[in-house]
């Protein structure tokens, strides 16, 4: 990382809580949020889904509203509800649902009547997720919607850092958002990776992922800019790395080649050694493949005593939001000084060289890393740093 980049604001909305404070309560209490048991047409069995409880988030255009709510939380946290004159604010967010015209009633009507109502098309043409957030916030800075599947939110952090390094803006609204949708619900079912039970990341008996929805947004800002505004924090983005498996459309590289490359690149970018990392907020979807492959890669880089948590046990897999949500949760752990427990874990898988943390655990070091592995073989990792007073 060239210049210092800090996180000057955080916002989050998932099944674990409608904001930062309620999310921390959930983690402290080690309580799984209530789930919706969702069935697919034609199947008797149901699947747990982690829905956002928050009132006032409409079903129509839901991803945008989730993103906007989290964005507003983050801007307030950063003291940016009113922007200083000349302040250049970019928007880089990820999604998998909001980037497509995938409205099922629209398409059903098109097939049946040939004259579907055009509202879904007009809504789609209002702009991409990032474009609409930029309009809502009133900024003219750089704008990008990342559509890298499950690593979108983390990849968005990489883009934001590149923009800040290139001095294209002073700060970036970064993260991701996604609503629950029948399309990935059906798609992940057909790929045979959905669990009919609550997900158990890294557990020997894990059966797959649970879907979730939400938004995780951070304000990344050049430290000099935040100091000038009197809003600096001690949370830094220390490094970022991304790498492609170059292997297969849906299966991750069996040796975790890409995720290991991404992690090592992020550590090198941060200028630190693996032993300086306190814990990993893993991708940890609870599929047989991901946890085994990611687990091996983490053990190779950090050793088998690595401290790992997957927060997907509280939120489900929020797809395009996951990287943003997990960035916020990792930052919170550094800020609060404790790491949430990995829910759902009971028995170590002998194919995975470690067990995740099963209790709320105090932090002992000052760096943490969040990892994401995506469909199509994109892998990304971001290193966060809590800077000690006087440093």
């Amino acid at each position: 990382m060239r210049g210092k980049v800090i996180l000057s604001g955080l916002g989050v909305l998932t099944a674990a809580g409608d904001d930062i404070a309620s999310s921390l309560v959930t983690f402290q209490g080690m309580v799984r949020p209530p789930v919706v048991n969702h069935s697919l047409e034609g199947l008797e069995q149901t699947f747990p889904m982690f829905a956002v409880q928050g009132k006032g988030i409409p079903d129509v255009d839901r991803t945008y509203h989730l993103a906007l709510r989290a964005t507003r939380q983050a801007l307030v946290d950063a003291g940016l509800e009113q922007m200083p004159p000349g302040f250049r604010l970019g928007v880089c967010v990820g999604t998998t649902v909001a980037c497509q015209l995938n409205d099922i009633p629209f398409y059903r009507s098109y097939r049946e009547t040939g004259q579907p109502p055009l509202e879904p098309v007009y809504r789609f043409l209002l702009g991409s997720l990032a474009e609409r957030l930029a309009d809502a916030v009133g900024t003219e800075g750089p704008v990008m919607t990342v559509v890298n599947a499950c690593s979108s939110g983390t990849d968005a952090v990489g883009v934001a850092c590149s923009w800040l390094n290139a001095n294209l803006c002073d700060a970036v609204i970064v993260g991701g958002a996604d609503e629950l949708s029948k399309i990935p619900s059906s798609g992940f079912w057909s790929l045979s990776v959905k669990s009919p039970a609550l997900c158990k990341p890294f557990d020997r008996d894990r059966q797959g992922l649970n879907l979730g929805e939400g938004a995780g947004i951070a304000i990344l800002e050049r430290k000099a800019s935040a100091i000038q505004r009197g809003r600096s924090t001690n949370l830094e983005v220390a490094g970022f790395g991304a790498a492609a498996d170059g292997y297969h459309l849906t299966a991750p590289h069996p040796e975790g080649f890409g995720i290991e490359l991404a992690i090592r690149a992020a550590l090198a970018d941060a200028g630190i050694q693996p032993e300086q990392i306190d814990f990993v907020n893993a991708h940890g979807t609870a599929t047989r493949e991901n946890d085994r492959i990611e687990g091996h890669a983490l053990a190779r880089v950090f050793g088998s005593s690595v401290r790992v948590v997957s927060t997907k046990g509280y939120t489900g897999h929020t797809l395009g939001a996951a990287g943003g949500v997990e960035l916020v949760f990792t930052a919170l752990a550094l800020r609060e000084g404790w790491i949430p427990a990995n829910m759902g874990f009971e028995n170590q898988d002998e194919q995975i060289p470690f067990s995740p943390l099963t209790a709320v655990t105090p932090l002992v070091r000052d760096y943490a890393i969040s990892t994401s592995l995506a469909f199509g073989g994109n892998n990304a990792a971001v290193v966060l740093h809590r800077v000690k007073e006087g440093a």
Binding site: L118, L125, V146, A149, V159, A244, G246
Partner: protein
């Protein structure tokens, strides 16, 4: 950043040479009708393009991925690089929507519990670039973006940043847009016959240094006299005030990624090709591509080698 390779798939066929022939042909291109009941003329990619033997290894690729892969492979030809430092950026406005609709069709026909995992995997925006990485065996960062206003220009700006900060040694930057029956239906209801939509994929190999022309993206048109190409007929985004310059919309069709088509055109002009409708040739520098969306614009500037 310097341009070292170009790849094109469009209504004129596959390849920069095909684009050259297409743009020198004095006969106007003929859009072909697409759609279900109401038909709209669309500048479609000829179907024989998809029979290219280079596509045989990607048997499950959809049309969007196939056109993307062909254009990327052409731009990649002749590259020598550390594959762990090769990045890929793919921009699109609407992504693989034909495949999204195919998946929704599946859901409606067979039910949510019997949808095709292959069609689902292809309907994800990240599929096409994933195929490029698998084919060329690159391991650098891959970034897919989907925006309506300036997707390609944002991609170029990001590539420049990656090269400057040393994240990559080579970046393959491209843009792909496809048409489908559903989109044709929506377009004709919203805008009638005002637009002839296009489709295509355009890729550019970029490096930090090199002997090729240099590229940059800015928000205003430079003052210097130069060759101007303009993309203000982007589908649904056409401005009231057209930017000055030559439009190739009769060849590209209306495309939000029209800037990418025009960058390929700019490269042909730089090489000295005299194209239909152009008076300038490669003696002029810089060549500028102006894309407008509402009141905003982005300008891609191509300068020849600085002597």
């Amino acid at each position: 950043m310097k341009l070292s390779g170009v790849g094109v798939v469009c209504a004129g066929g596959a390849g920069v040479d095909a684009l050259k022939v297409y743009l020198k042909n004095p006969d106007a291109p003929k859009p072909m009708p697409m759609g279900n009941k109401e038909l709209l003329p669309v500048l479609q990619i000829p179907s024989e393009v998809f029979k290219n033997p280079l596509l045989a290894p990607v048997r499950r690729a959809d049309r969007f991925s196939k056109m993307t892969l062909l254009a990327a492979l052409e731009a990649w030809q002749g590259a020598e690089a550390d594959l762990s430092r090769v990045g890929i950026i793919l921009a699109s406005a609407c992504g693989p929507h034909a495949t999204v609709f195919k998946f929704v069709n599946d859901l409606l026909d067979f039910g949510e519990s019997k949808s095709s995992p292959t069609v689902f995997s292809q309907s994800v925006h990240a599929a096409a670039a994933s195929m490029i990485a698998s084919t060329i065996q690159s391991h650098g960062p891959v970034l897919n973006l989907a925006d309506l206003a300036f997707p390609f220009e944002s991609a170029l700006t990001l590539a420049d940043a990656w090269l400057e900060e040393g994240r990559c040694d080579v970046v393959l930057v491209g843009a792909t847009e496809e048409m489908s029956d559903v989109y044709v239906h929506a377009i004709s209801r919203m805008w009638g016959n005002r637009f002839v939509p296009g489709e295509g994929s355009f890729f550019f190999r970029l490096e930090r240094d090199g002997t090729g022309p240099s590229l940059r993206v800015q928000h205003t048109i430079p003052d210097t006299a130069s060759c101007l190409l303009e993309n203000s007929e982007a589908l649904g985004g056409a401005s009231e005030d057209r930017a000055p310059g030559t439009s190739f919309v009769r060849h590209s069709g209306s495309l939000r990624i029209g800037g990418a088509f025009l960058l390929a055109v700019a490269e042909l002009i730089r090489r000295g090709e005299r194209l239909v409708g152009m008076t300038e040739t490669g003696t002029v520098s810089p060549i500028q591509i102006v894309s407008t969306c509402g009141k905003r614009q982005r300008v891609i500037v191509m300068e020849k080698d600085i002597l």
